[in-house]
């Protein structure tokens, strides 16, 4: 334990927030509290992970490691076959998290809505898990529910059906209600429970951006702006209630971008002979949830029309026909006719070398490696040559205007470094104007649709006595956050962290600026870790 006085640290996440949007909002006076915080602190662009997705990025935030080293490569991870992906949980995080390290040194963490926090890794810390919760247990300890009435209204997510029904105004109303309900609980915990490390993630910025980022960035859409204004009011509440000696960090896991063009990556792989499709589709079987059951009920009353591989092969030859068919589907069939159309094209993994394995769930390319997957077909010998061949080919793809579709293609060694598990993705893309998708919803390679999706440029802002004021630095990496917080707290930084302590954020003469970083040895597995690891590996073999 450090001899330094324990510092209280508050981390507020703004999922998917980007300075591209926040700067104009502050300039127009929509976020006055954030603007005042920027003047009091140090800001930077926060570079996300590869991929720039919620699950891997927040896990990097709390481990200091890139996804290749912490194990949560995406929302979904491969099992013994690329055809069977599982949702990542907190159990997939390799090694210790920031909050476990703080806890070991006497800090009391409170974690609310941190992706990857289910199931909780700390038995005795207050944890409210995130939208990645599997099951109905989301509040730990469960007895908290009896202490504060507000928890009875707490919801992990808003009413998503309103978004599905494209009832934007109602959805935004529910987002605001959801925000108020969550914040009532956050405020109660902040004021009534002991903490030294307090984490809360506002997911609402991501949810509204997926719905309306293009309208926000281009037209400052009034109704969507209400979310940002409301969050700014809550920032003001935090500033009124935060202990004067506490340090505040506001950050996002990735940024946002408005992509107006799509590239059907799996379709291209099929054309090049790297991927083989079948008529099996990629649909999850069964209907377990209430919403899915309702949808299935509606669909059961409709006439079913399955569009398979042959239909898309035909459409591939006649682009104008596809455009017409799609227009009729969206304008007429979907709205007025009792017909349910399902796309029934899937991947034949026994004949596929490369793919986005799960439609557009995954946007990194996986090689179907024979030594990793039970139905893999690419040998060790073939692997390096295949990687180089793909990089050359993808870099040479041009759209109809002769432009490259991607800024850069990276191997996993370039992105993650050495010692990466075999099950990590193999190729990553730095996108340009095109959003890459894996679905087979087109016979063409290129499409024109608006996609409000992530980019790599998130936000970072830190405010407190140790930090510089009114300072802008170029960028930090998400993997720097754990080293920063550990060093600020006077604790050792594990040598295995990929990030570094960003000294440029510290004020001149600040104690953290004067103190050298102390590195801890590699985290040594305890006997308990070893037992659990042996049991886990036995079960994997079962």
């Amino acid at each position: 334990m450090s001899s330094l006085q324990k510092k209280k640290i508050v981390v507020l996440g703004l999922d998917g927030a980007t300075w591209k949007l926040l700067d104009p909002l502050m300039k127009r006076g929509y976020m006055p509290t954030l603007a005042s915080l920027v003047k009091k602190g140090t800001r930077a662009t926060l570079k996300s992970t590869y991929p720039a997705m919620t699950a891997p990025s927040w896990t990097t935030c709390v481990t200091g490691k890139n996804p290749g080293h912490h194990g949560v490569f995406d929302f979904m991870l491969p099992t013994d076959s690329l055809s069977r992906m599982k949702f990542a949980t907190g159990k997939d995080i390799v090694d210790k998290t920031l909050y476990e390290m703080l806890h070991e040194h006497g800090y009391t963490p409170i974690l609310i809505n941190l992706p990857g926090s289910y199931p909780p890794r700390l038995k005795d810390a207050i944890t409210i898990t995130s939208l990645l919760t599997q099951g109905d247990e989301w509040i730990f300890p469960a007895t908290l529910k009896d202490e504060f009435e507000g928890f009875k209204k707490y919801r992990l997510t808003p009413d998503e059906s309103l978004r599905l029904k494209e009832r934007k105004e109602y959805y935004i109303e529910d987002l605001l209600k959801h925000l108020d309900e969550q914040m009532a609980c956050v405020q109660w915990l902040f004021n009534n429970k002991p903490w030294d490390f307090f984490f809360y993630l506002f997911s609402h910025t991501d949810w509204i951006s997926h719905l309306a980022y293009t309208e926000l960035i281009e037209d400052f859409d009034e109704s969507s702006l209400r979310i940002f204004k409301k969050i700014d009011e809550y920032f003001a509440w935090f500033m009124q209630h935060i202990p004067t000696d506490a340090h505040l960090i506001i950050l996002s896991d990735h940024g946002f971008a408005s992509y107006k063009k799509v590239f059907y990556f799996n379709k291209w792989l099929e054309q090049q002979g790297y991927l083989v499709t079948n008529d099996a589709g990629d649909q999850m079987k069964g209907a377990a949830t209430r919403r899915a059951k309702e949808a299935a009920k509606i669909q059961s009353k409709q006439k079913k029309l399955r569009v398979g591989k042959a239909a898309f092969d035909l459409l591939a030859r006649f682009p104008l026909l596809e455009r017409g068919v799609k227009w009729v589907y969206h304008a007429v069939v979907k709205k007025y006719l009792p017909i349910h159309v399902s796309v029934s094209v899937g991947i034949d993994f026994s004949k596929t070398k490369v793919c986005f394995p799960k439609g557009s769930y995954i946007t990194n390319a996986y090689i179907n490696k024979a030594w990793v997957y039970s139905d893999g077909i690419v040998s060790h010998e073939e692997y390096p040559q295949l990687i180089q061949e793909l990089i050359v080919k993808i870099n040479s793809i041009r759209d109809t205007e002769g432009k490259s579709i991607v800024k850069h293609v990276y191997t996993r060694e370039e992105v993650y470094g050495e010692n990466v598990p075999d099950k990590a993705p193999d190729l990553f893309f730095e996108l340009a104007d095109y959003w890459f998708v894996g679905q087979f919803h087109s016979g063409q390679l290129f499409g024109h649709e608006i996609h409000n999706k992530h980019d790599a440029d998130g936000i970072f802002l830190c405010v407190g006595s140790e930090f510089q004021q009114n300072t802008k630095i170029d960028h930090l990496d998400m993997q720097d956050i754990t080293p920063l917080i550990l060093h600020l707290s006077g604790l050792d930084v594990p040598k295995s962290c990929d990030g570094h302590v960003p000294f440029e954020v510290f004020a001149e003469g600040a104690e953290s600026a004067r103190r050298l970083v102390r590195f801890s040895q590699e985290t040594k597995s305890t006997e308990k870790d070893r037992i659990q690891s042996v049991i886990q590996s036995l079960k994997m073999k079962k």
Partner: protein
């Protein structure tokens, strides 16, 4: 509290194994931890077994994962 007999040999082996450990004070604690891990591990295994998920989502674990998928799809994380 129930007693489960262990052979003298096994007890001695555990005793030797945890000698000097600051995690376990006694062989009883060690055995308790191992068994708890095995039993908890069983639950984990069921939760993560996607082979069956695709085949039958009517069971409880399938429903848990299905809910996560629905949330992610419906909120725009996944198309």
């Amino acid at each position: 509290m129930k007693n489960i007999p262990l052979s003298d040999d096994l007890y001695a082996q555990i005793q030797a194994h945890i000698q000097g450990s600051d995690e376990f004070d006694s062989p009883e604690e060690y055995v308790d931890f191992v068994l708890q891990s095995v039993l908890n591990g069983d639950e984990d295994m069921d939760l993560d077994d996607d082979d069956e998920d695709d085949e039958d989502e009517d069971d409880e674990d399938g429903e848990k994962k299905s809910k996560v998928r629905d949330r992610l799809e419906n909120l725009g994380y996944l198309d």
